[in-house]
Amino acid sequence: MHTDPTSNAPQKGLQDLDQVVIRFAGDSGDGMQLTGDQFTRTTALMGNDIATFPDFPAEIRAPAGTVPGVSAFQLRFSSFDIHTPGDAPDVLVAMNPAALKVHLKELKKDGVLLLNTASFGALDLKKAKYDKDPRSDGTLSGWRVIEVDLEARTREALASSPLDNRGKDRCKNMYALGILYWMFHRDVAPTEKAIADKFKKKPEIVEANLLAMKAGYAYAETTEVFQTAYRVSPAPMRPGTYRNIQGNQALSLGLVAASKRANLPIFLGSYPITPASDILHQLSSYKHHGVTTFQAEDEIAAVASAIGASYSGQLGVTSTSGPGMALKAEAIGLAVMAELPLVILNVQRAGPSTGMPTKTQQADLMQAMYGRNGECPVAVLAASTPGDAFEVAYEAVRIAVKYMLPVIVLSDGYIANGSEPWLLPDVDRLPPIEVKFAPPSSDGSKFQPYQRDPATLARPWARPGTPGLMHRIGGIEKKDGTGNICYDADNHAHMVATRAKKVANIADDLPPLTTFGPRTGDVLVLGWGSPRGAITAATQRLQQQGHRISCAFLRHLNPLPKDLEALLRGFKQVVLPELNSGQLAMLLRARFLIDVQSYSQVDGQPFKSHDLEAHLTQVLAASKEVK
């Protein structure tokens, strides 16, 4: 078969596109995430810019063929710089009627629907809640439908395989992948290698999967159903070395990088929770980098053990999602009082309570800012893309050890599981992180655990085991300096102010905000976290239409950068899109008395850039009127 796109079958057309959005949808057990992942790797290696969005149910295997069991993976690849996995797909691969039911309405008009017809029996239709067969009642008109019985085709291709029919059917996703590889001119070699690695110990599975993929490719190449293949040229990207990265991976790598630069071992205390568990998985494979992982008995023990490790002189880290954050609140307060470094990773999901664990949201901002008893400030950072998560994790470590306090890093499910090409940093150029432990003392004087650095107000990090530094600390209010229990009114007021000032001092280190577009104009779109891509895409399009619109993004949410207020005041209107009911907008309005307009979406899904663009167009129109 042809794996070199230039030697493609000559009788078929080849059309150039600048971008394509593909969505794979099927049962949880259909291998949609694996299929999407393979297409992504191949496409990244071929030099396209790419963004992905896996969207899966919380159930590992919901009843087969039902609507709740549908799992999807969307990817967008292009010949130019992109910021989001796209809104509506150009191509939908639907593995069963339920997947069709859930996703058809989003397929672009005139888009390609690759439909697996193997499971369109009466029962299958009933499970998907179709009264009639959608193939024969006009439901599919308006789309370019390609019907393939993937099971029959795959079984045919695997006639000589030792696998039973069930095993053969499990390769149907690879048959579909083969079809798409032909349609979009993809190289099959990376997938051949990946599958061979993945099923190293099961050669018959490797053979069947690859056979199915090649058969799909050949089917598309030879049958008349497929008339045209499409080509998306590589995107111009900044020179350097790239890899594909997901947000949870990047957080993990950022922590290890910081640990290496600071020469400070990491201790992760964690309890499994969606969508943060991959951080625990990944860090537990980095023992050779001196990372200790402790799978605790619960969320509280997870953060408590991390605090204990920080007290001992390692960097305590805990990873979780919203429900876990709720349980950790009291212990985070202890770290604030004990003034110990601690990094808390909150990969947000849709709430409240259990909410929708596999869906995304940014509704834990207020919880991060204020969700503890007493006046209990911590530093709060937000990652905005998978690649950005590396830098944010690194920055969290820097702040935690410099100021001796807890730092909460907000990510979310969209960043955690989405992926993008990541320009690998030069490790020698990562900013240094200096860790100073209090030196041994032999002069017999009482050690002062709260004697502060005059510039940062950080207290000394005094490791047990260091001669002469014996001292007692705790969550109870204490006298500044000595650390002895102290209930004096003046001292408490002083300590509350000191802990707040310590957080505020972090702003001294922060670089000025960068804006996409001029620093003054009609509208500033301010964002934080994962909406960055959608905001950038929408702003870019409106700028191209000649509008005076700019956007900027906050990595530091507490403290806020010092130049934020001036930036906000440079625009007639400020719009703040966030995946909550307007939490940061409320904070900024209260803080600056500026009329920050919230644009909110709380449905568990990321913003679509077209929705944002439509909203911003209205805002711009209003801004013209107020002239």
């Binding site: 990088a257 050779h288 408590a304 053990s305 204990g308 001992s312 007692r472 705790g474």
Partner: protein
């Protein structure tokens, strides 16, 4: 533990400069005294010793010791101490807790510390009441306890803390009593020498909210008849003249023996593979039987922190990787 450069430490060297603020007459004073005595006997280095506590009267303990101390939050001391110990296994880590702290709000951390066999020494002051919150029944209060929160008597059945520790896989499980100072000091010394989690339940009198909780066991007049000292390799005998004993029937039910049957008294083996004898003693009725003190169980088992250290050492020996190589692992591509 002593080094030739330093003069030996006296008991007073373990006392901090903080004024002790327990109620006058509290059993905690004698426990503090026993711990300081044990530490002096063991010549513990102040800077190598960490005492971690939760919340409650007992949890003020770290402030009174001239070691490293961390007074944390309610129930979480074993979890915090686990992080301290795993991050630096060289440290000598002690947890001081109470019956409310360890058995109620922190029950989960308590059993999991036992299960993992983390190298912690957990001293649980059991006064069978909530003292700091002024006198509500605790998970070790006897059923029917009349308190401010149970005016008609508590409905709850109590925990048998020793049985809970045994059930959770505790490898060193012992009991002492506040007023038996010398025995308590010796029990703490033995706990200190154990590899893994060492748990000591200490009966402690709260003279304000539960005065006399152990009177029926500890009063001078009844003490000899009511306390059974567990001694490894010795038969289970009690009484001033050691003329009564405990034997087990074929169902491991305890029974009292005396006179010609005294020879049937069970010979105590604290290292017994089966937890059944210890469990039988831990759960027998205090009304019918004497109260055992001393070591219920002592088993050698690799510690959690040793396992963690070993895995990390093996991983480092197997694979060395620069940060650059870590970031570049997997599929990368170059753009010129």
């Amino acid at each position: 533990m002593t080094t030739s450069e330093h003069p030996p430490l006296a008991k007073k060297d373990y006392k901090s400069d903080q004024e002790v603020r327990w109620c006058p007459g509290c059993g905690d004073y004698s426990i503090l005294n026993a711990v300081q005595g044990a530490f002096a006997k063991l010549q513990k280095q102040l800077h190598q010793t960490v005492i971690i506590s939760g919340i409650g009267c007992s949890s003020r303990f770290p402030y009174y010791m001239e070691t490293f101390g961390f007074h944390t939050i309610h129930g979480r001391a074993p979890a915090i101490a686990t992080g301290v110990k795993v991050a630096n296994p060289e440290l000598d880590v002690w947890v001081v807790t109470g019956d409310g702290d360890a058995m109620s709000i922190g029950g989960n951390h308590f059993i999991h510390a036992m299960r993992r066999n983390v190298g912690l020494r957990i001293l649980m002051f059991n006064n069978r009441i909530y003292g700091l919150t002024k006198g509500q029944f605790s998970p070790t209060s006897e059923q029917g306890k009349v308190t401010k929160s149970s005016p008609l008597g508590s409905v709850d059945y109590p925990f048998a803390p020793i049985a809970l520790a045994l059930g959770a896989g505790g490898t060193f499980v012992a009991r002492g009593i506040d007023i038996l100072g010398a025995h308590l000091e010796e029990t703490i010394v033995r706990a200190s020498g154990h590899q893994g989690t060492a748990y000591v339940e200490i009966y402690q009198n709260c003279n304000i909210f539960n005065d006399g909780a152990y009177k029926a066991t500890t009063d001078k007049e009844v003490r000899d008849q009511r306390i059974l000292y567990l001694q490894h390799g010795q038969p289970l005998l009690f009484g001033a003249n050691k003329d009564r004993g405990i034997a087990f029937d074929s169902h491991f039910q305890p029974c009292l023996v005396s006179g010609p049957d005294l020879g049937k008294a069970f010979v105590w083996d604290e290292t017994s593979e089966s937890p059944a004898p210890a469990m039988a003693l831990a759960t027998m009725s205090e009304a019918e039987f004497p109260v055992p003190v001393g070591v219920f169980r002592r088993r050698e088992k690799p510690t959690f922190e040793a396992g963690v250290v070993q895995q990390m050492a093996a991983a480092k020996a197997r694979k060395q990787e620069s940060l650059h190589d870590l970031l570049h692992a997997g599929e990368v591509w170059h753009v010129n």
